[in-house]
């Protein structure tokens, strides 16, 4: 990298080239998002943001500006979907939905944490995000319940895996692990 390029990369300011005004044009509810007045009600409501780096308002701002860096921002994964901002935003921006949608785009780019990847695996294999274990099987029997609940997993155990096979095949296709991101994930 030449000196000039290096300097360019470290600059503090942004130029129009840093924004992609096209990308977010397809976002749902866009007209409302563009009406955000940056009042901060969302951030002030945010139960996660009080303790973490998540600043809801600035996420909405980045969407308005077309700042795609928001898709690589780990903060979007800190929203607990408590809907407090959604309830209170005076301009009906629905920030929770915005964040959920950003996560969809981020996932497509391969920005998905290993733990989340594992949860998708569980769904495909067991039909559950939290699969059963031996301990609980025992408890179920003690409580007088069937050892396995009558969900898709039970049928798989009984040799009928037509449901889970299809779910595995057709649902929640994740992109391959992003190379350079690997080390960064917590």
């Amino acid at each position: 990298m030449s000196d000039v390029e290096e300097q360019q990369k470290n600059r503090e300011f942004k130029t129009d080239d840093d924004f992609d005004t096209e990308f977010f044009k397809r976002i749902e509810n866009r007209s409302n998002i563009m009406k955000c007045i940056q009042c901060g009600t969302c951030t002030a409501s945010c139960e996660s943001g009080r303790w973490t780096a998540l600043k809801t308002r600035s996420i909405v701002r980045k969407v308005v500006l077309g700042d795609l860096s928001v898709l690589d921002d780990p903060d979007i994964w800190l929203c607990t979907t408590c809907y407090q901002c959604y309830e209170r935003c005076p301009r009906d921006v629905k920030p929770t939905d915005v964040i959920m949608e950003l996560r969809n785009y981020a996932t497509k780019r391969g920005n998905i944490s290993p733990n989340h990847r594992a949860v998708v695996g569980y769904l495909k294999n067991f039909g559950h995000a939290v699969p059963i274990n031996d301990e609980v099987r025992k408890r179920r029997v003690e409580l007088g319940l069937e050892e396995l609940p009558p969900t898709a997993f039970k049928y798989k155990q009984e040799g009928d895996d037509k449901d889970l096979k299809k779910i595995e095949k057709y649902m929640f296709d994740l992109p391959p692990v992003k190379e350079e991101k690997k080390g960064e994930e917590k």
Partner: protein, 679 residues
């Protein structure tokens, strides 16, 4: 012509209508103007004139250098005299430019001026098609033919004079209503002033000091309240409501219901009755901050000074009746209904403060949140002679708060509660009050949480600065909620300081909500009685936001003050003055002059569906008992909107009827039906 001559002249041309019957054979004179090179440089005017000659009923077709010149106009006049031309078509510039010149010219010859048809071949043709001379000429021909077609069926439009009733009615006696009443009365017009409360002055009397100068509102308003109350031409009715409104512009009949005060005018305001009355209720005027009796006077300077009994809360113990030294209390008084004949109505019904309990995270009005108040309540606390003795004391424990947080845009700029507008006044009054509080208690932290500070205009940014100077803290962020510690009872305001991107939890001994100004209670029924339209927020809608912000959707009904939308006092007063002036104009003049360019209804075609009434914004169409529509010729604004609403084409605007428009359309649309069999 001098102004006096002009006045005389308009007086002469009144019902010049009934001149000639429209039945006779049309004889049309067509005049094509060169306008020097302006038209003739592009359009072959001679060819156009030749073409015009071939059209039916055209008895003369000429082209001339400058039609608007004296000789040009004379050509027009001569044709009437010499050839018996009874309709003229001038193809020259726009209707605005010289249309009127020619119309007036034929009027001078005794023809109704509506028999002139102006065809614009300059702005609409030669000037915009300079490079396409042939096409421009062809277009000019078509335009002229269209004009001739239109001229053929033009009918006379009568100009009528309607005498007006020289009196006005003003609804609402806030600052706007008072100003309008006073100005009207000073123009010599008798005024009936209708106020629904027992006192006049409106919200202004509740305020402590008014921005930007921080003067005492009582002092500024009392010359006006007294002036109005004592004006020989103003009849004041308090405890009064509008019941019914009939008639139209120039001549309304308004029925007003006046509830009794139960105290006669000989009351000396001694206060004995009130002192002994056993019933106590929160004072509405004091925004619930103090207690009043069932027989009371809202506040010491209240006008009228006569006491009033609140029948709803009275337990009829008769103490007051017996104690009154002048025997003024009289329970036998009854509700009266009066009918007033007036020429104009001014609506100045003001506003209400928004009730913030709808915004749940702020917990206004809930148990444990007594220290969350509104700005109007704070004004009442600070005002002279208040319950707190003009001190700021928190309601929960009557202590001076060490921290006051004000929250802006409560109920304004909020899509969720449906008030999208910015009230525009609350930034100013919050800054005013913040500064006053900070100056009174320098040790108290005063914070304003805002989204934007909106202080436009002379003196207001200065006010903002002055509050910053005394140490009011401004935080840019809209609080998400007010939380109360269930153990200590302390309040905290949660807000993001958006400028530093920090979520904050502000300690607040007292929270003041800058609540929006919203339409006053009861505006719905009042609006429908007056038949005026309202904006989607519920305020009365002005006829045109820029050109006519004081006229309502209906002629003869004017709006002043906060009823049209949130306003501060200066704006309310300014609008009230304007409303008075334009409301007075037809009354001073004594008549309304109106061209009867109105629709007529063909009762054979009309199916009595009433659809025409629904689209008529000025409410000019009434439905008779038998279901037939009737056009009020005074109220109609000649917009023609009723025409397409009618399923049978029964209602047709004079000179703009479907048939007349079709005549005009045929030549310019290409001429002749395309596929007759199908359509």
């Amino acid at each position: 012509m001098t102004v006096e001559e002009k006045v005389k002249k308009t007086d002469e041309i009144k019902g010049g209508a009934d001149s000639k019957e429209a039945e006779e054979e049309p004889r049309i004179g067509v005049f094509i103007c060169h306008c020097g090179h302006n038209i003739a440089g592009t359009v072959d005017v001679a060819k156009v004139a030749e073409y015009a000659k071939t059209l039916p009923n055209v008895v003369k077709a000429e082209h001339y250098m400058f039609m608007c010149s004296k000789p040009g106009v004379q050509m027009l006049k001569d044709s009437i005299e010499e050839l018996g031309v009874n309709r003229t078509v001038v193809a020259s510039c726009s209707k605005n430019q010289h249309g009127r010149t020619f119309a007036n010219a034929i009027q001078e010859e005794g023809l109704n001026k509506h028999r002139h048809q102006q065809v614009n071949i300059r702005e609409f043709n030669s000037w915009v098609h300079q490079k396409e001379k042939d096409k421009a000429t062809e277009k000019a021909k078509k335009l002229v033919e269209a004009g001739v077609n239109r001229a053929r069926k033009l009918e006379d439009v009568e100009t009528r004079r309607i005498a007006t009733t020289k009196a006005a009615l003003v609804i609402g006696a806030g600052i706007a209503g008072l100003r309008a009443s006073y100005d009207l009365a000073e123009l010599g017009i008798p005024v009936y002033l209708i106020e629904r409360l027992s006192t006049i002055g409106g919200h202004m009397t509740q305020l402590n000091k008014t921005f930007p100068t921080l003067e005492c509102p009582q002092c500024s308003i009392s010359p006006l309240t007294n002036g109005v109350a004592n004006h020989p031409l103003v009849e004041l009715y308090t405890n009064a409501q509008i019941k019914n409104v009939g008639g139209s512009m120039g001549n309304f009949e308004v029925e007003v219901e006046i509830k009794p005060r139960y105290v006669k005018d000989n009351c000396t305001s001694c206060g004995e009755c009130s002192a002994h009355c056993p019933v106590e209720v929160p004072s509405e005027w004091d925004s619930g901050m103090s207690i009043r009796k069932a027989i009371y006077k809202a506040y010491p300077q209240a006008i009228p000074a006569t006491f009033v009994r609140d029948k709803k809360n009275c337990i009829e113990c008769n103490t007051c009746v017996n104690i009154c030294p002048v025997k003024a209390v009289d329970f036998s008084m009854e509700t009266e209904t009066k009918t007033f004949k007036v020429g104009s109505i001014v609506v100045a019904a003001g506003y209400d403060e928004y009730d913030p309990s709808e915004i749940e995270p702020y917990h206004y009005g809930q148990k444990g949140f007594e220290d969350v108040i509104t700005q109007l309540k704070l004004e009442r606390m600070l005002a002279p002679g208040s319950l707190t003795n003009s001190q700021v004391l928190r309601p929960s424990d009557a202590k001076i708060p060490k921290s006051v947080v004000m929250i802006q845009c409560v109920g304004s700029r909020n899509d969720q509660v449906g008030n999208e507008y910015c009230t525009g006044v609350c930034c100013k009054f919050a800054i005013k009050n913040a500064r006053i509080v900070k100056e009174m208690y320098p040790d108290t932290d005063v914070t304003i949480c805002y989204i934007d500070v909106r202080t436009p205009g002379l003196n207001f940014e200065e006010l903002y600065k002055s509050a910053q100077e005394v140490g009011v803290r401004f935080i840019r962020g809209r609080p998400s909620e007010i939380v109360r510690d269930p153990i200590s009872g302390n309040l905290k305001v949660i807000v993001e300081d958006t400028l530093s991107m920090t979520p904050l939890q502000l300690k607040a001994d007292m929270v003041v909500l800058s609540a929006a100004m919203v339409p006053p209670e009861g505006i719905g029924p009042l609006g429908s009685k007056l038949q005026v339209l309202r904006s989607k927020e519920g305020f009365l809608k002005e006829f045109h936001i820029k050109m006519n912000p004081t006229l309502s959707s209906k002629g003869g009904i004017f709006i002043a003050g906060a009823i049209q939308g949130p306003k501060d006092i200066s704006e309310s007063v300014a609008q009230a003055g304007n409303a008075a002036a334009i409301a007075a104009a037809p009354l001073v003049k004594g008549y309304i002059e109106k061209e009867m360019l109105i629709p007529s209804v063909d009762l054979d075609l009309c199916v009595r569906c009433g659809l025409c009434k629904t689209v008529c914004a000025p409410a000019a169409i009434q439905i008779n008992d038998d279901g037939t529509p009737m056009v009020n010729e005074v109220a109609c604004k000649s917009c023609g909107m009723c025409m397409p609403a009618c399923p049978t084409g029964a209602i047709q605007l004079l000179n703009f009827s479907d048939k007349q428009l079709l005549d005009e359309i045929i030549p310019i649309a290409g001429g002749g039906a395309v596929c007759e069999d199908e359509l």
